[in-house]
Structures are given as structure tokens and as C-alpha cells.
């Protein structure tokens, strides 16, 4: 909506004062309408262009392929549908221009392999129209009533003179006609000859399937072509869900489910449809509005039935009941249900704004613990990731919370891992500030009267009115609302987490709880801090945790402390010591992924809290981290060394670790587990010399860099890109998980093997001479070889 605001120039005050409010309103509305319509036009132009391009590219497809149920096909159809609508609203010259552009585009993008020239289309488009006129007569022979009376309507709406995609629709119809006739013949066949050989049965089945497929395709493309008119076909399509013919029932049902899914995805409007009130029903409306209402009503009811059908399928599968006619055997229920679940999941992700979304959530969430959990969890995570409004997330979280509690914490950890995908960045921390803020905007009448002059008041009034309108014009997803939703969501999430921490510490959910806490720690309410910290510390010291879990504990507590927690007076020394002690559990043989968390911990604990950390502690960590980097896989080593670099920058005094002089008393005690007391000042980072001989080029680079005291400029400095990356990023950059080589192994060929240009010329000279001195060459090489061999 920003362009709208930008374009709208607020009228000058004088004008405001002179014109009445009504006029002003009208003016505003007019302007808005103008802008909207021009924006619409623009969008249409673009769409047209796109359509023209896709149309040409699709042109080369064989007609038969078109009838297989592919999502791609539906998309194509959808664009046709969009295309057919807006033409009447366009100016003629616009249309011309578009057409010219479309032709150009088609000429450019035309597939060379297709032999039909662009102009051939014009001729083609005439032929189908002729055939079209015959169509109603033909259709009358058939028994299917709905098809008959609907098709002519489509013709009317679809008759756009010379539009580019025109041929596509009629061609489709052409294909159908003969098949439809065949259908009639074949449907009688099984009744006559019930006993067939297996091969014939197979053939028959294939035939039936193609028929059904074609039927489905025609129905769905009809719906897509003009959903407002053909909404009834949706019902027909949905009726196919009840396919009774035992030999094709399962396949047909699956296909119908998927095609309905795609159809719904395409035709559902971008707003929620609300039921009409009695008054609205009673009021007289325009014809178009009536049509729209009918469409909406039909859509909602069909959608509802569709969902119910899906749910029923899943339920049947779960209860292992053999119901709904004998057409479907028990075994195939599983496949059927899987398809149904996939459809539900797809809808969950694709239509979060539409009616019945909550019902879908309620349907999906319990399935997250079943055998299909992977699919469902994936869908839920995706939804949470995509959700911008927060409403859907809230619904999901609510249901999950209920389930976790209801199941007595006996759910899969994946369910809780989904919550990590929540996109929550801020919540309202204190309600007081939030409440007071908006009130300031509008003064009370009394205040105005006392503070402002008459003129000012008038002006102010107008301004306020404008502002209110603008606010309304803005979509409902205002920031306040979003934040409120987020707050509520997060409260529920924390409720889940705290419940588990309190009641079910031994459950398998603990790792994901800790991970979640670490992720959202900065959003936790201040009141919980004390308790949470003590619980976390208890967990760490209990020793039951795996290394990763304890790292999460530490990370959580420091996230808490680094945010608003700095007001708390808690000494995190124990956490430091614990991390220091356990650092050596990290090594190349174990899990490599933990390094990322360690790096995060180090960042929060040392670099971000530089004022609270003593030099001794920093040095102790520096020394131990360097030692640690000897024993890690290269990516972790690079990460740790980068963290060391950050440490050296934040604590410049650490450079005494590069000197070999004794400072004060005591010797370095590498085995002591307290960083403060191990006398790190009395040692040096000698391990850098080992790392300088490391096999990984990046580790060598970092070691050499640290050896020079991590200078930010000069000969020992890192390149710009490297120095900007954080340790965690570097760790990810140089990941060795899937045997990728970063930095790549350079592969040079013989001629270019020498980087030194002088050497190269020498070699070239030598190569030229070689042909003359073959015999001499042998002897010289031989002597070399012999000396080498004797050396060995």
C-alpha cells in the first residue's frame, strides 16, 4: 500500500478549510478508485504478456499429454480463466498494444522445433469456432445433463476475438468429443460381457481410466476457465469421489482428490468468505453481485464437503473400517488415505486465509504423531515459516499444546521441532507502554478546546479523520495486531516448554524443548528468569544431559542474561566453567554439528559480554580453544579459529599469549577445569605451528593469521570477505558433511602447472630442445633417478 500513500498528496490546508467534508471524501475516493483501476490495468497488461508467452511455449505440447493430471496444466488453465475475464474493462488501444507485444514475445520465445508458424494460429482459431457451433447439437445426444446446458455459456464468455490462447480451449473440446461418444459405447460393454480374460480386463480398466481422466480434465478445466459460471461442475467433480466401479475406484478417487485440490487452490479468492446476514440476504442487489454471492456460497459449501470427504477417508483408514460401499478394498485404504492427507497438508499450507483453516489444523495436528508424521510435520513447519499474519500459527500452536498435554507428553520430538520454525521476532514486553502509545494520537475534545485555536482545531480534525481513513485503508494486518497474535502464540509455546521442563524432564522431548528455549530465549518474560536459570543449572549439573543438550542450556541462559536479563544479578560463573570443562568433548570423532552451538555460546558469553569477563578467563578460553582446534574436523577448526580471532580483537591484551615470557607466578595447568586459575598467561599458542601445517588450506590461513596477532590490516590480514564472516558462517561455509571440497582442489593441466611465468618460459624452451637431445636427456634423467632411489 505504500505506492498509494506516496501518490496521494495531502491537500493544502486552505483547501481543506474551504471544502466540505463530503466533497473531500468524494475526492479521496475518486482518487483511490483511479489509482486502483490504473494499477489493475497494469497488472492485467503484465498478465496478458505472461500469458502470451506461456501460451506459445505450451503450444508445442501434444494434445494428449495435456490431459494427464499435471499441476502444470492447471496453471495454464488458470491463466486462461484470468484472461477471459478482464477484457471488457480494457481500452481498445491497450488491447492492441498488448497484442502487438504478445506477438513479439511469441516470435522471440517460440520453440524452434514447432513447425507451425505464428500466423497459422489465426487460421486455426477460425476452425474451432465453426466446430463450436455444432457442439450443442452433439451434446444433446448425451445423457449428462449438466454438461449440456453449461457448455454454451462457456462459449459465450470464451469468445474473445483474436485473443492468443483462444485455440487452446476449443482444441481441448475437440479431443473430448470423440471420446465422449466412445464412453457411451463402452459403458454398456461391461454389462453385456461380465466375464473377461485378465488381459481384457486390464485393457478395459485402462480404457475406463482414460475416460474418467478425460472427464475429470474437462470438468476441472471448465471450472477453471470460468469458476463463477461453472461452479456447479465442481459438485459433479466432487461426486466422482464416490466412484463405485471397483476396478478403478481407488485410482479415480485419488485422481479426483488431487485435481480438486489443484482446482480449489486456483479458484479460491484471496479473502475469507463470510456467511451473509439476514439483512443482506433480504436486500436487493445487482445481478453481478448476486452471481458473485452464488459463487461464493457454492464454493464454500463444496469446499466444506470436500474437506469432509477427505477427513472421512482418513478416519476410515485409521479405524480400519470397511465402509462407503464395497468399492474400495481395505488394503488400498492406506494409499487413499495418504493421498488424502497429502491433499489436506497442501491445503493447510496453500490456503491459510480461507474458511475452515482451523478445521484443517485440527485435522492435521493429531496426524503428526502417526506414521505419516513426516509429511504432516513438514507441512506444519512450512506453514509456520510462511505465515505472516500470525493467525494460523496461533491456531496451530494452540492445537499442538492441547495435544502435547492431552497425550501426557508422549509425542514425537518432531512435533516440537516444528515450533522452531515459528517466525516470531518481537513480542510486546510490557503491556503498559503498548496501551499508552496509541492514546496519545487522538486528544480528547476537552484538551483540544483548551490547547488549540479554532483554526487549528478544524485542521486537526480533518487530519485525524484522514489518518483514521488511511488506517482503515491499510490492510487489517497492522503491526499491533500481529504483535498481539505473536505474543499469544509465544505464551502458549513457552507454556508447553515450561510444562515439560517441570513435569517431564526425562521425556525424549527435552532436547527439542531446550533447543526451542535457546531459540526464543530473548523473548521470555522477565518473571520466569530466576526459576528458569535455576532449572537449567540443575539440569546441567545433573549430568544426565548429552553434550548438545547442555550446550543448549548454556546458550539459553546466556540469551536470557544478555537481553533484559542484565538487570538480574546472577553470576554465570558456573556456566562458564561448565563450558570450559566440556569443550574437549568436542572432537573430530564425535558429532560435528555441535560446533555451531559452541560457536554461538562463545559469541554470547565472551564477545558480547566483554565487560563482565575477566582477562584471565578470556585467555583461558583462548588457549583451550586453540588446543581444541587441533582435534576437530577442518570446518569446525576454521570456526573455532575465527572465534579466537574475535576474542583477540575484543581482548587485545590476549596477545601476551603470543609471547614466550613468564608473567607473574605459576605455570600453565592445561588439565585444570577452571579458566581463571590455570595461569593461561604463562603459556603461548604454540599449537598454531601445528595448525600451520594442517592439511586444510583454510585452517593454515587462519593459523598464520592468528600467529601474527590477528591484524586487521597489513600483510597478515585476512581478505575482506573472510574477515566479515562470523564464526558460525565460516563453519557452515567450509562444511565437510557431504564431501564437497571448499576451497576447491585446483586441477591444472601439464602446460599450466607452473604459476611462475619465468619458469614457464624456461620449460617451453626446454621442451623445444628436447627433440634434438633425446639421448642426452635419458642419461640425465637416469642419474637423477638413481640418486633418488639410493636416497630411499
Amino acid at each position: 500500500l505504500t505506492p498509494l500513500q506516496n501518490l496521494f498528496n495531502p491537500p493544502s490546508f486552505r483547501k481543506l478549510l474551504k471544502t466540505s467534508n463530503l466533497k473531500l471524501e468524494n475526492k479521496l475516493k475518486n482518487r483511490q478508485f483511479k489509482q486502483q483501476s490504473s494499477a489493475k490495468k497494469q497488472r492485467k497488461e503484465q498478465r496478458k504478456l505472461r500469458q502470451a508467452i506461456t501460451d506459445v511455449s505450451h503450444k508445442t505440447l501434444k494434445p494428449l499429454e495435456r490431459y494427464k493430471k499435471k499441476p502444470g496444466e492447471e496453471e495454464e488453465d488458470e491463466e486462461e480463466f484470468l484472461e477471459s475475464l478482464p477484457v471488457d474493462m480494457m481500452d481498445d488501444d491497450d488491447l492492441e498494444q498488448i497484442r502487438a507485444m504478445a506477438k513479439k514475445a511469441s516470435f522471440l520465445t517460440r520453440d524452434i522445433s514447432s513447425c507451425t508458424p505464428v500466423h497459422a494460429k489465426k487460421r486455426k482459431s477460425e476452425q474451432p469456432v465453426k466446430k463450436y457451433e455444432k457442439m450443442p447439437r452433439k451434446m444433446q445426444q448425451e445423457e449428462e445433463k449438466e454438461l449440456i446446458h453449461l457448455l454454451p455459456i462457456k462459449d459465450k464468455s470464451g469468445l474473445i476475438p483474436q485473443s492468443m490462447e483462444k485455440p487452446v480451449v476449443p482444441e481441448a473440446e475437440e479431443e473430448e468429443e470423440p471420446v465422449d461418444q466412445d464412453e457411451l459405447n463402452q459403458e454398456e460393454e461391461p454389462e453385456i460381457v461380465p466375464l473377461l480374460t485378465p488381459q481384457e480386463q486390464l485393457e478395459l480398466r485402462a480404457q475406463k481410466l482414460t475416460e474418467k481422466k478425460l472427464h475429470m480434465a474437462s470438468l476441472s478445466s471448465a471450472v477453471l476457465a470460468d469458476p463463477h459460471v461453472n461452479i456447479k461442475k465442481l459438485k459433479e467433480l466432487r461426486a466422482m469421489l464416490m466412484e463405485t466401479d471397483p476396478c478403478v475406484a481407488v485410482t479415480v478417487r485419488k485422481l479426483v482428490m488431487v485435481s480438486l485440490l489443484e482446482v480449489f487452490k486456483d479458484i479460491v479468492p484471496s479473502y475469507r468468505i463470510r456467511p451473509l446476514t439476514e439483512e443482506e440476504k433480504a436486500a436487493k442487489v445487482k445481478k453481478e453481485t448476486l452471481q458473485l454471492r452464488e459463487f461464493e456460497e457454492g464454493l464454500v459449501s463444496q469446499y466444506k464437503f470436500y474437506l469432509e470427504d477427505l477427513e472421512q477417508t482418513v478416519k476410515d483408514w485409521k479405524q480400519k473400517k470397511q465402509k462407503r460401499s464395497q468399492a474400495v478394498s481395505l488394503q488400498s485404504y492406506k494409499g487413499l488415505a495418504e493421498v488424502a492427507i497429502r491433499c489436506i497438508c497442501d491445503l493447510l499450507v496453500a490456503l491459510p486465509h480461507f474458511n475452515f483453516h482451523n478445521n484443517i489444523v485440527v485435522m492435521v495436528v493429531p496426524l503428526m504423531r502417526d506414521s505419516v508424521s513426516e509429511m504432516c510435520c513438514g507441512a506444519v513447519s512450512k506453514l509456520l515459516k510462511q505465515d505472516k499474519l500470525g493467525q494460523a500459527s496461533l491456531a496451530v500452536v494452540k492445537v499442538i499444546s492441547g495435544m502435547v498435554k492431552g497425550r501426557n507428553y508422549n509425542v514425537k520430538p518432531e512435533v516440537l521441532n516444528c515450533l522452531l520454525c515459528l517466525r516470531i521476532k518481537e513480542v510486546e514486553m510490557r503491556k503498559d507502554t503498548e496501551d499508552t502509545a496509541p492514546k496519545k494520537k487522538f486528544m480528547s475534545f476537552k484538551e483540544k478546546r483548551t490547547n488549540l485555536s479554532r483554526m487549528q482545531r478544524k485542521w486537526k480534525k480533518a487530519e485525524e479523520k484522514l489518518q483514521k481513513e488511511l488506517l482503515e485503508a491499510e490492510a487489517s494486518e497492522s503491526k499491533d495486531k500481529k504483535i498481539k497474535l505473536h505474543t499469544e502464540t509465544l505464551n502458549i509455546v513457552f507454556l508447553i516448554y515450561f510444562r515439560i521442563l517441570k513435569k517431564a524432564q526425562k521425556s525424549i522431548l527435552l532436547p527439542s524443548v531446550l533447543e526451542g528455549l535457546a531459540r526464543f530465549a530473548h523473548l521470555i518474560n522477565l518473571e520466569f528468569f530466576d526459576d528458569l536459570l535455576s532449572v537449567l543449572y540443575g539440569l546441567i549439573t545433573s549430568g544426565d544431559l548429552t553434550y548438545r543438550e547442555s550446550l543448549h542450556c548454556i546458550l539459553t541462559s546466556f540469551h536470557i542474561l544478555s537481553g533484559q536479563g542484565d538487570v538480574l544479578n546472577i553470576d554465570p560463573l558456573k556456566f562458564y566453567n561448565h563450558l570450559y570443562k566440556t569443550l574437549l568433548t568436542l572432537h573430530a570423532g564425535g558429532r560435528n554439528e555441535d560446533t555451531a552451538i559452541v560457536l554461538q555460546c562463545l559469541d554470547v558469553m565472551l564477545t558480547k559480554r566483554r565487560k563482565q569477563v575477566t582477562l584471565q578467563r578470556a585467555q583461558g578460553f583462548l588457549k583451550r580453544l586453540s588446543t581444541l582446534s587441533l582435534h576437530l574436523l577442518p570446518d569446525s577448526s576454521v570456526g573455532i579459529l575465527a572465534a579466537n580471532r574475535a576474542l583477540m580483537h575484543t581482548f587485545p591484551k590476549c596477545d601476551i599469549l603470543l609471547d614466550n615470557e613468564m608473567q607473574g607466578s605459576g605455570v600453565y595447568l592445561p588439565e585444570l577445569d577452571v579458566p581463571e586459575y590455570c595461569n593461561p598467561q604463562n603459556t603461548a599458542l604454540w599449537e598454531l605451528h601445528l595448525l600451520k601445517r594442517h592439511y586444510h588450506p583454510m585452517v593454515r590461513k587462519f593459523a598464520a593469521h592468528l600467529m601474527k596477532g590477528a591484524p586487521s590490516e597489513g600483510s597478515g590480514a585476512l581478505s575482506m570477505e573472510l574477515s566479515r564472516r562470523t564464526p558460525v558462517q565460516l563453519f557452515e561455509d567450509y562444511s565437510v558433511k557431504d564431501m564437497s571440497f571448499n576451497p576447491p582442489v585446483e586441477h591444472f593441466t601439464i602446460g599450466d602447472a607452473f604459476l611462475d611465468s619465468e619458469l614457464k618460459t624456461l620449460i617451453n624452451a626446454a621442451l623445444q630442445n628436447e627433440s634434438e637431445l633425446t639421448s642426452l636427456d635419458f642419461t640425465s634423467q637416469q642419474t637423477q633417478q638413481e640418486t633418488r632411489m639410493t636416497a630411499n
Binding site: 582435534h631 595448525l691 592439511y695 565437510v736
Partner: protein, 509 residues
């Protein structure tokens, strides 16, 4: 001389094709002829062509070459044919020795040379010990003198032959594989540029196999990595890179090779594959010892120490110790045996000591050793088996001794960490003087070698006990061989000529 030579050509031809002017029906004649050829042909030829003593002058430079070229060609081809048709090791060895002498002639005749190379590679990869050595010598000679023509293809074929022949590893074949590794490394050292191309391609191939295994996570793909061929290839490249160490050309390959080895270790880190891990660690140790590259290997050893519960009573007792050198994978019953744990502790001791030995003089030794010390201390605290504790305590003491030695020395040093040259000089100095660990290691190595010798002889004694059946098999094989020979020679004079060959072989050796 030329007459005799021509006759010889005919006979060698005759023995395989029997389509010549002279058909040799009498095997005694044949034998003496072949013997004569092998003994005197080289000298006769060089005399005929008036070549001077040094071998390396090509015979084609002689003025008489044109005249005799066809005859020589025939003879030389005959030798190759003879070589490929023989089966008895001693005979082959003699012919090979002759072929070695004749190399200059082959060098002038590309087609024959190619045939010779083919059969040489076959003998190099499958023959018996002396045969292998001789074949390698000939190969090396040819490649050294005509690098640009033959080296590339020879290296490729040799590598393929190597891979083919290291599918199975047993105490008997292990020395053969080692021999092939060593000799291949020699071959690769002839021209580092060419070797780089080969090594790059083959290491990449290994990496691709590994990547597939990582990504697909299926049993079949694991198998494509966890097999002897793969491990031996890793070992081969380690050996090649460490033999040709100070080489700028090959050095960039250290990085991918190390990555592949470590990736291989981490692919399926379960206890059943510990032997494979130990092989990999051994390869890393070899590589890092010879190339002055630091490759972390200790964590993989310490992880075993950490994960394995040595206190648990072994479920089964077994007499036979497990030979970790010739297995990759342990069976489930093996895991419960006492022999497994004994062997594992011993292997860990060996490998840790060996690895530390390679880094003993490094200035960062105490840091390198820290996790090991911590881990060993924890182990000693936990472990209740006296035997294991004894070994590990000894190891710990040695490491700590070395640690304190290095720490003491470096504290006295006057330079800082940034001074690279001073550190290098310091490390060199320490290496010359020797550290406690290096001293101990050399003692231990001697003892260990003796032990291994004893073990081997012990095994032989064991084999002696089992001998009867094995011997019979061998005898049968020999008989079969003899039968073949009889068919060819149609006499029993082959025995004495065998003796002759042997005596000659000894003399030349």
C-alpha cells in the same frame, strides 16, 4: 652367429605356433635352444650390431640395424610370446631377466614393446616375488627411457591391475600388495606432472564414491566404500604422496586425500568397522609423518577408547588372536571375544604411539597431547583390567615425559610464537637431539618387530600342524603344472633344466 640367431627365432616361434620352417619335435632340443638364447643372445646381438658396452645406447643407432631389423623383431616378439605362455615361476624369472637385458631392443620396436608391457604388468601384478621384482625392473626401465610414449598408459594399466589384485587381503597377499604399492609409488615418482593427473582423477573418483555413499545412505553404497580395494587405494595414494614428498606439484593433493580418508572414517562409525578405521588412521599417520602435514588422527583413536567398555566381561573366549592387519570388518561374535579387546588395546597403543612419534619434536606437542592425556587418565580411572591398564599407563607416562620435555625446552626459548623460522630451527634441533618419546619409540619398534617375527614364525608352526591337507593340494597343483609342461616338452628333462634355472637365478641374484 646370424645363422644360429635365425634358427633361434624360428624355434621360439615354433614352440607356440609350429608353423615354421623348422618344427621342433624334440623337447630337449627346444630346451637347449631356449637356454642358449637366454644366455647368449644379448651378447651375440650386441656383438653383431657392434654396440659398445653401455646399455643405454639404442641399438637402432647402429649402422647394421636396418639390415637385421626384421630378424630382431621376430625374435623379440617370440620372447614376448614365450613369456605369456609360461607358467612356472622360475622359468618366467629367467626369461624376464633376459627381457630385461633386451629392453633397448624393445625400445626401438614400439609394437613389440607394447606387447611386452602388457605381459610385464600381468606378471607384476600376479606373479611370485622374484617375478614381480623382475617385471617391475623391466617396466621401470622402459618407462624411464621412453617416458613420453609409455608412462601414461603404463601407469594407468598398473593402477588398474593394482586395484584388481587387492580385492582380497590375507597374510599371504599383504606383502604382495605392499610391494605393488611401493613399486607403483616409484613409478609415479618418474614424472610428477603425469602423476598429478593420475592422482587427481583417481582421488576424485574415490571422493565421488564416498559422496554417493554419504548421500544415499544405503547398504550397497556403503559397500562401495568399505572394501579392501578402497582402503588399499587410499593407502596407495598416501604412500605415493609421502614417497614423493618435497614436490610442489603433488602437494595440493594432500588436502583432498586427507578429507577423503577422514570422510571414510566418519561414514559408518560403528565398532564393527574399527579395523577399517585403524587402517585409515595408519594411512594418515604415514602421510603426516612423511609430508610434515598435520592431520588430526588422535580423536578417532580416542573415540574408540572412550566408547568401548573394556570392563565388560568378554562373552566368549577364543584362542586365536585377531589379526587386525588383514580384516576390515568384525563379525558380531568377534566383538564379544576377549581376543578382540586385547587386540584393540594393542592396536590403539601402537597407533597412538606411532602417531605421537611422528609429532614428537613439534613445538605444539603438549597441546596435541592434552586430550589424550585427559582421556587416558579417565580410562585408567575406569578400567579394571590390569593388563590394559598396564599398557595404557606406560603410554601415558611416555607421553607426559615428552610433554614436560618439550614444555621445558620451549619455555627457555627466546623467540615468540610469530617467529616462524626460529621455531623451525628449534624443531630441527630437537629432532636431532631426540626426545624421550623418539628414544622410546626406536626401542619399542625393535622389540615390536621381533615380536611380529615371532608371531609369524609361530603362525608357521601352527600351519605346520595343519600342513598335511594343504600340502597335498599344493602337490596336486604342481603335478598339474608338470603335466602341462610335459605336454609341451614331451620329456622329463624339465627337472634338470629347472635346476639350471635356479642355479642361474641364484648366481645372478
Amino acid at each position: 652367429k646370424v645363422w644360429a640367431f635365425k634358427a633361434a627365432v624360428a624355434t621360439t616361434k615354433g614352440d607356440s605356433e609350429e608353423l615354421c620352417r623348422y618344427t621342433i619335435s624334440d623337447s630337449a632340443v627346444f630346451n637347449s635352444l631356449v637356454l642358449f638364447c637366454i644366455k647368449d643372445m644379448h651378447a651375440a646381438l650386441s656383438k653383431m650390431l657392434k654396440l659398445k658396452a653401455p646399455e643405454l645406447i639404442l641399438p637402432s643407432s647402429s649402422p647394421r640395424w636396418q639390415k637385421n631389423q626384421i630378424d630382431i623383431k621376430m625374435y623379440v616378439a617370440g620372447v614376448v610370446q614365450l613369456l605369456s605362455s609360461l607358467t612356472q615361476a622360475t622359468v618366467i624369472a629367467a626369461v624376464l631377466r633376459h627381457a630385461n637385458q633386451m629392453v633397448p631392443y624393445y625400445l626401438c620396436l614400439p609394437k613389440q614393446c607394447r606387447h611386452l608391457l602388457k605381459s610385464l604388468i600381468k606378471h607384476w601384478s600376479t606373479g611370485e616375488e622374484t617375478v614381480r621384482v623382475l617385471a617391475f625392473l623391466a617396466l621401470n626401465k622402459i618407462c624411464r627411457h621412453k617416458q613420453e610414449i609409455y608412462l601414461n598408459s603404463v601407469l594407468k594399466q598398473m593402477y588398474i591391475a593394482y586395484v584388481k589384485n587387492c580385492k582380497f587381503t590375507s597374510p599371504n597377499t599383504l606383502p604382495m600388495i605392499n610391494f605393488m604399492q611401493r613399486t607403483l609409488a616409484e613409478m609415479y615418482s618418474l614424472d610428477t606432472q603425469v602423476s598429478y593427473q593420475h592422482a587427481f582423477i583417481y582421488i576424485r573418483q574415490l571422493a565421488i564414491h564416498l559422496r554417493n555413499a554419504i548421500n544415499l545412505k544405503k547398504k550397497e553404497t556403503y559397500q562401495s566404500v568399505y572394501n579392501w580395494q578402497y582402503v588399499h587405494c587410499l593407502y596407495l595414494w598416501c604412500r605415493v604422496l609421502s614417497t614423493i614428498y618435497p614436490s610442489e606439484v603433488l602437494e595440493p593433493l594432500l588436502y583432498p586425500l586427507c578429507q577423503v580418508i577422514i570422510g571414510c572414517i566418519k561414514l559408518v562409525p560403528i565398532s564393527r568397522y574399527y579395523p577399517l578405521r585403524l587402517h585409515c588412521v595408519r594411512a594418515i599417520t604415514l602421510l603426516s609423518a612423511n609430508t610434515k602435514t598435520y592431520v588430526p588422527a588422535l580423536p578417532f583413536l580416542l573415540e574408540i577408547l572412550q566408547r568401548e567398555d573394556f570392563n565388560k566381561k568378554p562373552g566368549r573366549m577364543s584362542i586365536k588372536p585377531i589379526n587386525f592387519a588383514v580384516i576390515l570388518k568384525l563379525s558380531k561374535t568377534n566383538l564379544q571375544e576377549k581376543a578382540y579387546k586385547d587386540g584393540l588395546v594393542e592396536q590403539l597403543y601402537d597407533l597412538i604411539l606411532e602417531y605421537f612419534h611422528t609429532q614428537a619434536c613439534s613445538i605444539g606437542f603438549p597441546e596435541l597431547a592434552l586430550p589424550t592425556i585427559v582421556q587416558l587418565k579417565a580410562f585408567l580411572k575406569e578400567c579394571k583390567v590390569a593388563n590394559y591398564c598396564k599398557q595404557m599407563r606406560q603410554l601415558l607416562e611416555k607421553i607426559q615425559e615428552n610433554c614436560s620435555y618439550i614444555t621445558g625446552r620451549r619455555q627457555k626459548a627466546a623467540f615468540g610464537v610469530a617467529d616462524v623460522t626460529a621455531v623451525a630451527a628449534w624443531e630441527k634441533q630437537v629432532a636431532v637431539e631426540g626426545t624421550p618419546l623418539t628414544k622410546y619409540y626406536s626401542q619399542w619398534k625393535k622389540l615390536r618387530e621381533k615380536e611380529i617375527q615371532l608371531e609369524i614364525s609361530g603362525k608357521e608352526r601352527m600351519e605346520d600342524l595343519n600342513l598335511p591337507e594343504i600340502k597335498r593340494k599344493k602337490a596336486e597343483e604342481k603335478k598339474a603344472n608338470k603335466k602341462e609342461f610335459k605336454g609341451l616338452f614331451e620329456s622329463d628333462s624339465d627337472d634338470d633344466d629347472d635346476d639350471l634355472f635356479k642355479s642361474k637365478g641364484k648366481a645372478s641374484c
